[in-house]
């Protein structure tokens, strides 16, 4: 019998902050103290709080240790495992707690979260099917096997579940269309392409709880009458793919996959298709083309995949997170629980990836209807370095920015769309006063232009011209009619592009113009970038009131643009300065400010 369970996060976030080395140190230290039989060490999926990784949670004590290094391990083993004493030094500390916090319910990051989809992530060993079963896994499947297809579909419809992959289409309805479509063969496809830069909830679910996705797909297959499925996962997710393969093999061994599943005469086979990582391959028709071995290019809909999908057969295609919700809805009493969470039009929870200038980067799962303010300030801990919040980009390259005055917006499909953003896959990129909104729009458009499949003219040619205009504006070459031209191009592209990529890619431009028009106008008319991002549109200067002559800035400047004696005000020579910003980061007094460029013309006046 194990006395302690040590759950160490083995997901991509913590692996990159060094959890493999911490794991190795633990293995050695446990062996040294002959604790292998008493302490069970598990590499789990992501518990969400990547900012403070690597993370270990020790059960049954429920203690959350973070920011671990291999050299912390001897002390952890000595004090906690052998001595029964909590190592305060390694607990969570931050400006949002008075004292070091011990566990989920005392760490503010977790307090407002609601774990549905991430229910098992960080808690079970994702490579062990027994642990999934122990937490109620595959019960929804065995219940569904006793139900009629339309009964299953009806429960999914009543749950109000909407697709988590972007568009928010009602899942039950999609299943019904596919169920009713005529075909000698039907497919169930899982969209695990996750192309939105910054989003990683799908990877996290696959790495932390792969069986939940398999179970969701199996239930979908039972509902629509399919015997074969594909999981389209980007090849950059090797751990997710490995865990999926393990999970499929184990499920097969247990009789949940394969022939005559659980004796109900239901057969199902999984295939994994590794995608090469094109953003557009997340679009469902492009994804299906890619599985068929063709170039990933969208095609017109109708016909929708529900009637003519993979190899022309009726096909249900859903997102990873959508499938992970299904077992929760279909299990005994699950539907009643599910509909209690969320808003009228958006039921359940949503996982968000917090990124950008936010203190707590990572994943969080929240009930629909929570406000952006709660996500960003209560869960996310506010802005890094205590700076001022400017806006949040919701929905990635297809989404839009939402400014400070809309922070109390409830997060649900319809409110976000109304505000000019979208739910998308759940990426939230937080921006502070040092983010230039014109540059942000330029960045997203350069992404979509590069990722456009090149098929249709408005998207391929239109985004190029929009990007060129934005580039000119950020270089100080903006013209008075640029804003009109941008809006005109944006409306043509939205109105006439073939697929969702083109139809939504003007959103970042339109929403930044809508909420931050003055920044565009400053760039164009005054040749000034107040955020200090567009290098030819500002100078740095040192505020003599604040500068204490510490010399830190002068020492870091790579081009020697800063002069000044110790304890005396320093000065930046704008002719030499390359606006790399190193000094700004370095100055403890926040004395280095952004100012308008002094031009010859200004001097002559």
């Amino acid at each position: 019998m194990y006395e302690k369970h040590l759950m160490i996060c083995g997901a991509t976030g913590c692996l990159s902050s060094g959890s493999a080395k911490v794991h190795q140190a633990l293995v050695e230290e446990l062996a040294k103290h002959k604790l292998e039989k008493k302490c069970r060490l598990v590499m789990t999926g992501c518990p969400g709080f990547c900012e403070v990784g690597p993370i270990i949670v020790i059960y049954p004590d429920e203690v959350f240790y973070c920011r671990l290094k291999p050299q912390d391990i001897p002390e952890l083993v000595e004090k906690h495992l052998l001595g029964g004493e909590i190592v305060e030094r390694l607990l969570y500390k931050g400006p949002d707690v008075d004292a070091p916090a011990r566990f989920y319910d005392t760490i503010p990051f977790y307090r407002k979260q609601k774990f549905n989809v991430l229910r098992n992530s960080g808690i079970i060993d994702p490579e062990n099917i027994d642990e999934y079963i122990m937490r109620g896994g595959y019960r929804a499947l065995s219940r569904a096997l006793k139900m009629e297809p339309m009964e299953i579909i009806d429960e999914v419809k009543r749950s109000g579940l909407r697709g988590r992959g972007g568009a928010g289409f009602p899942t039950g309805l999609k299943w019904e269309f596919t169920y009713k479509a005529v075909g000698d063969k039907k497919y169930v496809v899982c969209n695990a392409d996750e192309g939105d830069p910054g989003a990683f909830m799908d990877r996290s679910i696959l790495e932390g709880d792969p069986h939940a996705v398999l179970e969701g797909m199996l239930i979908a297959a039972r509902a629509i009458g399919s015997d074969e499925g594909y999981i389209y996962c980007r090849a950059e997710y090797p751990l997710a793919i490995k865990r999926l393969k393990t999970a499929i093999a184990q499920a097969e061994e247990y009789g949940f996959v394969g022939e005559n599943i659980l004796g109900y005469g239901f057969n199902f086979k999984f295939n994994i298709k590794e995608g090469a990582g094109a953003f557009v391959c997340g679009e469902e028709t492009a994804l299906l083309a890619s599985i068929e071995g063709k170039r990933g290019m969208p095609r017109p809909r109708p016909p929708f995949p529900a009637t003519s999908g993979l190899w022309g057969k009726p096909t249900v295609i859903n997102n990873v997170e959508t499938y992970a919700n299904i077992p929760l809805i279909l299990r005994e009493g699950g539907l009643e629980e599910f509909v209690k969470i969320g808003t009228e039009g958006s039921k359940g929870t949503k996982v968000f990836a917090l990124a950008g200038k936010i203190r707590n980067t990572g994943l969080c799962e929240v009930p629909m209807g929570i406000t952006l303010r709660e996500i960003i300030f209560d869960i996310g801990g506010g802005i890094k370095g205590g700076r001022e919040f400017k806006a949040v980009q919701a929905g990635g390259p297809s989404g839009g920015c939402i400014p400070a005055e809309k922070l109390d917006l409830p997060v649900d499909y319809d409110s976000l769309t109304q505000a000019g953003a979208i739910m998308g896959s759940g990426g939230l990129v937080v921006m502070d006063d040092r983010t230039c909104m014109v540059d942000l729009a330029r960045y997203f458009l350069s992404f979509t232009q590069k990722e456009s499949c090149g098929k249709c003219i408005p998207c391929r040619e239109g985004t190029k011209r929009m990007l060129e205009i934005l580039e000119r504006i950020t270089e100080g070459l903006g013209k008075p009619d640029d804003l009109d031209r941008l809006q005109e191009l944006a409306s043509t592209i939205k109105d006439s592009a073939l697929c969702g990529l083109g139809q939504t890619c003007p959103n970042p431009v339109l929403s930044t113009i809508r909420y931050f028009r003055h920044e565009y106008e400053e760039h164009i008319n005054e040749k000034f970038c107040r955020s200090g991002v567009c290098k030819s549109l500002f100078d740095y200067f040192i505020d003599p009131e604040l500068c204490n002559g510490c010399t830190r800035c002068a020492r870091i400047c790579p081009v020697g643009a800063i002069s000044g004696e110790r304890k005396e005000t320093h000065v930046i020579d704008p002719e030499i300065c390359t606006r790399c910003g190193s000094c700004v980061e370095r100055c403890r007094q926040e004395a280095i400010k952004v100012t308008r460029v002094r031009r010859e013309a200004d001097v002559n006046h």
């Binding site: 094109a278 557009v280 170039r295 290019m297 095609r299 017109p300 109708p302 232009q449 590069k450 990722e451 456009s452 499949c453 090149g454 098929k455 249709c456 003219i457 408005p458 391929r460 040619e461 239109g462 985004t463 190029k464 011209r465 060129e468 005109e488 191009l489 043509t492 939205k494 109105d495 006439s496 592009a497 073939l498 139809q503």
Partner: protein, 351 residues
């Protein structure tokens, strides 16, 4: 199944389910512009010039691929539609050479026609313009991808109909091009030079070499005929100017070929006006060929045939006819041979 009734530009039309808006509009004689639409290919929806406004739809709809629905109300030239079409044309022109003066396609170029129709003479976008090398290494046609508008018809024809799969889309975004794998010249690809791509290209990106500089489309008389190369009977048009064949194009309504031709039927007409071609009978006299009249030549042949039969019997003769002859001619030829008393007749079933 019952038919579907809808309204297009205020006029009622009744069509079969599954009909596209474009087809329904054509039934009413309404001309919606198209670049990428190809009746023989699966709907592609690439160029978007065919967009129309459908009441209650969020965005404009590509009429070439959108099926009709009951009680649909469609506007094919509304202000919103025209604005989008103009924007699309301006976007194309911003990345397209404006050398119509010397372009071989002038006069039958869809881009020209639609720019004319919507009054677009230039583009006001400034920025990068593609600058790709010409592919003119093969003897049949030039690929100028700077003129390509990426409609994809050539790709679809080559893959779905010919099956050669010689070309596809390469790269993404602004850098997307159509071409053979690895950027090879077309000659090194699996292209069989059927020319189907050339025939469907709506612009001047694919140009047959034979006709370059020899005549404008409106100066050319298109003479419908049957290809004499083999017995399939492909129907085609010879492009004739001043009594000379300067090119050919397939007959898309030809019952035997419906627009398909092989490389010979499509490109192989230079022999007609070749200097090396025999146009008069030649008789060898003292070891040298000398021009003769038909009567002279036929008399000589008849005399020799008669002589051979007399001396060695009819089976000493053999007749070999040409695949370039028609069935009727071949029939007559074998009849002739048999009337001379021999069954020794053959045919070079090669070209």
């Amino acid at each position: 199944m019952s038919t579907i009734k809808l309204t297009i530009d205020g006029r009622q039309v009744e069509v079969e389910p599954g009909t596209t808006i474009l087809e329904a509009a054509r039934k009413l004689g309404i001309d919606i512009p198209t670049f990428c639409h190809d009746p023989e290919l699966a709907p592609n929806g690439a160029c978007r010039i065919c967009v129309v406004e459908v009441e209650k739809a969020r965005a404009l709809v590509a009429s070439c691929s959108a099926p009709v629905a009951p009680d649909m109300v469609v506007y094919t030239e509304s202000e919103r539609v025209v604005q989008a079409r103009k924007a699309i044309l301006r976007l194309i022109l911003a990345n397209h050479p404006l050398d119509c003066i010397t372009c071989e396609k002038t006069g039958e170029c869809k881009l020209q026609d639609y720019c004319y129709r919507y009054g677009i003479s230039e583009s006001d976008f400034e920025g990068e313009v593609k600058d790709l090398p010409l592919d003119d290494t093969n003897p049949f046609y030039i690929r100028d991808m700077n003129k390509c508008i990426l409609c994809g018809r050539c790709v679809g024809r080559c893959q779905e109909i010919n099956g050669a799969g010689a070309i596809d889309f390469i790269n993404r975004g602004f850098n997307t091009v159509v071409g053979p794998a690895y950027g090879d010249p077309i000659e090194k690809s699996s292209c069989v030079f059927c020319g189907m791509c050339v025939d469907v290209c709506p612009v001047g990106a694919l140009v047959p070499k034979a006709g370059i500089g020899k005549g404008r489309p409106w100066e050319v008389k298109k003479v419908k005929t049957i290809c004499p190369y083999c017995g399939t009977g492909c129907s085609l048009y010879l492009h004739v100017k001043d009594g000379c064949i300067i090119g050919a194009s397939p007959d898309f309504d030809g019952p035997a070929n419906r627009g398909h031709l092989c490389s010979k039927g499509r490109f192989g007409w230079d022999f007609v006006h070749s200097e090396d071609r025999l146009t008069k009978p030649l008789i060898k006299k003292d070891g040298v060929f000398v021009e003769a009249s038909w009567d002279e030549a036929l008399d000589l042949v008849a005399e020799k045939v008669r002589d051979l039969i007399k001396r060695y019997g009819p089976d000493s003769l053999m007749g070999l006819s040409s695949a370039k002859a028609t069935n009727e001619e071949n029939y007559l030829f074998q009849k002739l041979m048999r009337s001379l008393g021999t069954n020794n007749v053959d045919h070079c079933a090669r070209l």
